[in-house]
Structures are given as C-alpha cells and as structure tokens.
Amino acid sequence: MSGAVLDPTTSPAFPMAAKAAMGDTQLRKNVRHATEVIQAKRARVVDEMPDWQQLREAGKQIRQHTMENLDFYLEEFERNCTRSGGVVHWARDAAEARQIVTALVKASGSDEVIKIKSMTTEEIHLNDALEAAGIRAYETDLAELIIQLGRDQPSHIVVPALHKNRQQIREIFQREMNLPELGEKPEDLADAARRFLREKFLRVKTGVSGANFLIAETGGVCIVESEGNGRMCLTLPETLITIAGIDKVLPRYQDLEVVLQLLPRSATGERMNPYNSIWTGVRAGDGPQTFHVVLMDNARTEILADEEGRQTLNCIRCGACQNACPVYRQTGGHAYGSVYAGPIGAILTPQLQEMHHAQSLPYASSLCGACYEVCPVKINIPEVLIHLRNKVVKQNGLNAESLAMKTMGMIFRSEARFRAAQRLGRMAEAPLVRKDGQGEGWIGWLPGILGGWTQVRDLQAMPKETFREWWESRGKNGN
C-alpha cells in the first residue's frame, strides 16, 4: 500500500485490502507489538484512576451537549476568536478547505509550510493540493515525518507510523536525510530528526496546524502532543493557519479538565501530554502575527442530522479503539482505505464519504465490543456499525444475501416453518457430510459465500434430533 493515497473513493473493499495487508508478516508483527505496548500502558494508567468511569460519563455528556448545540458554540467560537485577532473561515467541503488554505499560504508570501500533525489535513489530502500549487509542506511530527519521507500513508490516528519498526525508520532516515552512518538507538533517530527539522523551524515562515479542540468560550485552539515540535510550529512562524473539523469545538475552557485527562491516558497511556498548547488570537511582538482558523464541515452536518450516527462526532481521536480492536490488530490501518482506521474509521469513513465504502467497512468488525469498552467518551461503536449496516441493506435492495435473509426471517416468524426448515437442513447437508476418525459426521466444504467458513474450519453435521423433538418425546414417555 505504501505510496498510494488513502482515498476511500478509490481504495479496494476492506476484505480484499485486509487480505493483502495480512500477507505482510513484518507489518503484522509491528502492529501487534505496538498496540500491545500501548494497550498495556493504557490499562495501567486507567486503572489508577478511581473515577475513570465518571470521567468517561462526563466526557460523553460534554460531547453530546456540544453536538446538540453545535451551531451555537461554533458561532461563539467565531466571535471570540475574531475578537482576539484571529480570522475565521468556513469551508463546506474538502475542496473548499484546500482552496482556502492554499490561498492563505500564498498570501503569506511563502512557498513552504511547516505542519504539525493533523488528521484533518490528511482527510482532505492537503499536502497534494499544496504541492500542486507549488508549495512544499514539511511534516514536523516525528511519526508524520517518517510517513512523509517514506512516501507512506498513516495507519493510526495517534501513532501514524505504528506499522513501522525502528529498523525500518532508520533506513528511511539514512536514505532521505543522507545519513549512511546513522545508528539505530532511539536517541540517534530523535537526534537526526531534530537536526533535520530545526533548520525548517527557523527558516519557514508559515505554519499549518490541526486542532485537538476549539474552545468556544475563549476562541482558543488547543493542541496536545508529546515532542514539542508542534509548539515550534505554533510559535515560530509569522503566519499560522489552523484547520479543524467543526466537531472539534468544546463549550468552556473548563471542559479541558475532563478531556485532557481522558485523551492522553486513552491515546498513549500517558498521565498527561508533555506539551499542551492553547493559543488565542495574536499578540503584538510575540508568536504568529497573522492567525487563521478554517472551520470545515465536510459531511459533518449530515452526520449530525442522523440521530443514530451522531455520536460518531463525539470522538476525540484518541485511537484507543484501534489498539483494542482485534480486526485492526490483524490488518493494520491501511486496509481501511482511509486515514481513519480501526473501529472509528469503520463508522466515520462511510459517513464522511456519503456511504461510499459502506459496503465493506461497517462489516469489518466481529462486534466484540472491545472498542466501546475503551472509548473514553463512550461512543457505542457496535451500535453505529449496526445502524450503518442497516442503511447499506436498505440501499442495496434485492440480492442473493438479502433473499436468503428474507427467507430466514420468514421461517423464524412461524413455528411450523421453522420445524420444516430444521428437517430440510438435515436433508440438504447430507451430501456434504463425511465421517471423521471417531465416526462423527463433519462438513469440510461448503458452497458459495459460505465457503469462507470452511477455509479453515470444519462444521459438525446436524444432530439427528432437535431439542424440541427431544422435549416432546420426553413429555410423551413421561420421564
């Protein structure tokens, strides 16, 4: 997948992409190792919080309340941001957002930008748009830098290079930074990145950032990160352009108290992020002198209008659901065909893409519920998956699967039909049953789409008698 842009409108369906990803044993090893380490850390720092469940509930309440009054809080944010010297722009969709940002960069007089990690800019493929306009973008988040230099794509919303191990990162740095002698200790790699980036921090005059949260009450923007590179991007440039989905808003400054506890513990298993930056407008002689915020809709109001899908917007992008998901852990992130991978991707991507890709992503889950269990704002992801599956079924109309499902549904609505089907099942399976060494009947091959089952599993033959038949004969014999 390396190199190919993760674009949900063109990427292959999940089962196919998953199959390809699962052939990459190194990738699977890296993903497994990384998710296990983060999960163990998360569990440790969550367990030490006696009020974790209350915090989750508080997080959910804050996010739910925000979504129910989103128009109000967005306007409040705009007012307060403008008052403190920021300029707010509204973008209906990805194309408009790209246009606005590109024009703002050009107006800043620079043909280069330094960027701090932002999944929103990945969502709209901003770097490609900038490049097409003759603007070079430098990623400064370490993981994003690895992805950019490796001409790769992010595979995790918090740890975008999670699928790469240290050796692979070293190779990328050796090649791209022209450092053939580079060692492989974490310090060596961090040092190389630091030197590579420092020059850009000091030279490039325009910064592009994402946002973790927008604070309506103050018009402030908050970014949390662990390397400090973000802080450089937010303070050194003369012009700062922040782009955020409209779902990122929080009502009050005080709400940070809740989310800044939930986020780092859920995301990386840290008690607190090393760098929490909040900036509000501009200040003469200190930091960027021009500050823009692009508020992007890109299908979010449509999600908001869907009562059952709405909770998707409560997401604070911690990635805990990805680490906990057994499907993600087998395939890694690229199989999801979008920058939003794992359980949150499986519900967010189809909704952001007008249900493109909904044929496969909402089905990329065993509904085990591990994602819901860890989500710090209690998004019931399995419930949304089922809701989206229902939308897909309704869109699809009649096909082989729906016919079979409708028939089964009809059977279950009548006891007589159910009994007849049980008898029929025994007759239908008879030609497929083979005796095993113990003289028991097993099926090792099934036709059509059911063949997926018998790739690696056998199926025991149906018993001679159903429970209800036994129950009835027992009643008759009086024992």
Partner: protein, 245 residues
Amino acid sequence: MRVSLFITCYNDTLFPETGKAVVRVLERLGHTVEFPAGQTCCGQMHWNTGYQAEALPLVARFVEQFKGAEAVVVPSSSCVAMIRDHYPKMAASLKDEKLIAEVEALVPRVFEFSEFLTKRLELEDVGAYYPHRVTYHASCHGLRNLGLGDGPQRLLKAVRGIDLVEIEGLEQCCGFGGTFAVKNAEVSSAMLAEKTTAVLNTGAEACTACDNSCLMHIQGGLHRQRTGVKTVHLAEILAGEEGAR
C-alpha cells in the same frame, strides 16, 4: 421456581445437548422447567447484519411466548445481549405502546444460564462432577454486554474433579462474529488461529464457554487441525454427575 427456557434457534437445531443439560441442571436444583413450543429465534443474526425489518417482528413473537414467565433462562450470552440491549429500542421504534410496556416488564426476567445460577439463584456449587482438564473462553457478549465477570469461572471451580486451566488472552474475541466469519473470512481465520493456539497451549481436553456460537467456531478450527481437543458448553459440564459418565 418455574423456569421458562429459551433454547434459541441455534441451540435447538445444532446443539440440542446444551438444552438437555440446562434442563438437567435446573431440575436437579428443584425447579420446574417449561419450554414454550412457539419460540424460534431472537433475531440477532438479522439485526446484527443490518436486516432490521426482518428482526423487528421477532420481538413481539418472543414477548408472546414468554410474557407470563417467572424467569426466562437462555444458554447463549449473545442472544441475551440481543434481547437486553436491543429489544427495548426495537419496541420503541415500532411505536407499539403495549409492546413497549411488555418488553420493559419482561427483559429484567431474562437471564443467561450462568448468570441465572450465580446472580438470580446466587449459587456457585450446583453439584456437578466433571473429571477433565478444561479451559474457559469468555465470549464477548457475555463479558462486555452482560458483564458476567468471573461468574462462569466460579461455577466451574466448584465442579468436582475438574482441572480448570486459564487461557492466555481470555478476553480476546475468537473471531466468530456471526456473518463476520464469512464476510471477512481471512481476518476471522487469523483471529481463530490465535484462539486455537491459546486453547492448545493450556493442554486442556476441552474448551468451554457460555455460547455455542463461539464454540462452534473454535471447534471448527480445532477439528480442522485434528487436535482432538473438544468444545463443550458450560451447561453440559455443570450437568455432569458422578456415576453418570
């Protein structure tokens, strides 16, 4: 107590031994057991795959069969999760006031089998004997939707003769997920492979759980690998009696 059994379409058709075992345990404990003959399916497969229109009529059917029950016992945690988590909102979506009220009254009386024993009857020792080495798999719906906790393990620990060994990755999904096993066969297989390896590493003769759906999946993998390790529903272990085997 008068206990009504919901044996589920799956157990009725494919795993009748589980239903028989439930009857044996409950009768041994002195309860009267009933089996409403009109029962069919809770609608889980349809609901979870996105076929809401097919699942909705099954709510009224279930209520009709069980509304008079003192307690409904179900040997399947995923079917109980379906009823508990989804029936109230399904009834609400049908806007049928009578059904809404009936569902609300009935759902608190529906129990998964091990849950009925440990939480409703507050029992751990049900007088079972099962002289085998066994490992327990925590099915996702029992673990997360029903919050069974260590109830099933406490029941197992009280079984005489049993050698209970803990499985690595107890809370990991086995990869079944209903139609997921077919629609995403590759990923499901990889998850299954981890689970069967974990089962084999315990050295157990049998793997047990509160759900025949997970067990069918695990058993399918174990049988394909010719391991000789069996799967057996928790109820069948609890039904074991000295001298009977």
